[in-house]
Symmetry: C4
Subunit: 229 residues, 4 copies
């Protein structure tokens, strides 16, 4: 069942580990089959070194396990909420990658300081508010999804494919799980560059909006001219 | 004698070296057999490249060498004091890992800035006071154990399985030596993240207590629901 | 056609990737045949893992593709402008290397803080001004070349073989593309050292001019005595 | 001639490269045969990838090449001055390692912030003054040796086996060249830890003198009890 998607999700989980974004078991990747309404996700707390494609868990959009011997990631309700809200995404990645997590811990959105950022994330990468006590005590992981949704109520989740959850860590998404992995690699690098930029100059001006737009639309949308298409 | 434990301690010493926490000979790992009241520890100042399981030294809780051709680590009295005080631990790791050591040198406890920290260490990772001159001049290594004990007189050593010794470096512990190694890896990563958090925002608010509790108890204790158990 | 140059440009593109200066497709290298007035450059947005020497694109100095199945790098007009303006250079490298990009994002020239810098770049590595809106909206990549030229109107591009484009990233050049790669490696390292120097001391004095001159001319020009020549 | 020493010097040069302390050709190691009054040193500006033991150059204490096809390192006069002044040393290493060089560029001695430092370098690692214009213009490399000697006129070069040359980079030494390599590795690590310590706390108190003494003499001198001797 969904063997191709399981293989992709397995590979994505290995990729975030090998690219240095995940230490121990601090991360998970998932993908959705929109036709079948089913999500494939990493099992909870399993070591990357012993993971296999068959360990992937299939859940439906009501959080029920449809296939798999193992418990799904404890962050499954967050993933499902995002798949329900962001209708065009096909994959989600959650890591505690060092530099992006530092921004999340500082409760700061990452300003767009340069074209590396503008090429991939439109405007700042937002940081959510903190969850309130009652949101933590009940349905914590679902509410984590909800504050991400709230944060994007005035933003375009396709142009800015990632978020920092305050005091926690980043989530990224994409048209498929491979794309979500790529966005998590990019987010970590722009988080590092933005921190170093602050060290060199203190509170720095952001990139002028016309440069930000130029770079984003040079790579995305109908007038894009970067790459081979 | 204690061959299985020697193998575990040997592997732990190699693991802290390979994970980048130890340069040269700056670290040591030990484990205790509670039934026999014997501790297995790395020999003093021996290069990791020539170490073998047979080089591990067995000492009793009076610091007497029971087996082994080599001198035990000069930090042996610290380890023994901790095994005597913290009755539930099975292994101890001492490293001079870069970021955790920087916090120890700054004589600052690591505040709990995020859930990566809260998942593994309950509240701040405390820094001891400096030893006094007379505590350094006599029984230095024993007194290093004693200030760790003093620091935990009002804390729970099982929930916060590590400490920074002021001006020196971290010690971590766990239910066995493998667990202590894992805690030393985690401590180094949260030390790095916390330093970067300060760089991004200056003196930052700590994680709200209700999120700290949620994350710690999501992974530990009777109501834990993270992982496969 | 130009097979030797294609091989060199291919190797240079691989070298900037393997030396850690380029993540994903964020970089490109080119070389010029001055005799034939033709430039060999990396194709746009192609993964380094699938790149081959045959993928290199040959363009003339009017930006027309002369040979190659693929679209040339979107930065081709920048490269061509530089080849037209800086008549003695044979190769150009553009990367988004982490530390040099952080200086570009901070819109700060890298001061000459030490002899590592002075050995290779004469005086500061300058940062351009921001492009204006109209310069971005029309002929963006050409205008990127033009502000580099403007920045060097009062400098010697041979003694200072690199630049930071404000809000963007570095470009380096050299007598051939191998030399340009070497300069991009050096620029990244001196960008890192300069940032750390600021962290240690705040706004620091630059190297006295007589030391700067000594080191630069110990390695370059007719009185050089470093190396085997 | 001096084949064993050439082999040692070759290995030391490779070691500083492989341990990440040297980029490109930015470093050199040498050793002295005190009996014969001859120094073996790396040739100037030769790539580490093509270096062989036979490329090592033998010079006497008057800077005359006694054996070797290649020019000796341009820093040879600095090495020779140190061998003449510091009568007990057998090897010298010069690198531009990132963090130690940043301290040199900041013109700051590295304070002794912790026991990692105190274990190996007694008190601060000093930074020289800047050379004056006339000292740079004539006999620059010899004068670099002289300011190191001047800096140690009131210090013990055996207890503090390294220095930062202001605006330049570190030199370390030891009883043989292997020991000098080890000291350059240690210096880089304590330079990094000290910088991070400043980031965490700002201008931090140094280690109390009684702890500094305890750690240094636990490892060195007649009452040392660290290691297997």
């Amino acid at each position: 069942m969904l063997n191709k998607l399981k293989e992709e999700v397995y590979k994505a989980n290995i990729a975030i580990c090998e690219s240095g974004l995940v230490k121990l078991t601090w991360g998970n990747a998932s993908a959705i089959s929109r036709e079948e309404g089913l999500v494939v996700i990493k099992p909870s707390g399993v070591d990357y070194s012993v993971l296999s494609p068959d360990d992937m868990v299939v859940v439906d959009l009501e959080e029920r396990v449809v296939e798999g011997r193992l418990k799904p990631s404890s962050d499954t309700p967050t993933h499902i909420f995002l798949y329900r809200s962001f209708r065009e995404i096909g994959g989600i990645v959650h890591t505690h990658s060092t530099w992006a997590t530092a921004w999340a811990q500082a409760c700061r959105s990452i300003p767009c300081f340069g074209t590396t950022h503008a090429d991939h994330f439109y405007k700042e990468v937002p940081c959510t508010r903190f969850l309130k006590a009652e949101e933590v005590e009940n349905d914590y992981e679902l509410n984590t999804g909800k504050i991400i949704g709230e944060t994007f109520s005035t933003r375009d989740y396709q142009r800015t494919p990632g978020v920092l959850v305050a005091g926690h860590a980043p989530f990224t998404w994409g048209k498929d799980v491979k794309d979500a992995v790529k966005n998590s690699i990019i987010l970590e690098e722009i988080a590092k560059m933005a921190c170093l930029t602050l060290l060199i100059k203190g509170e720095t001006q952001v990139l002028p909006e016309y440069i930000m737009n130029k770079h984003y639309f040079r790579k995305h949308g109908k007038d894009a001219y970067y790459g081979q298409k």
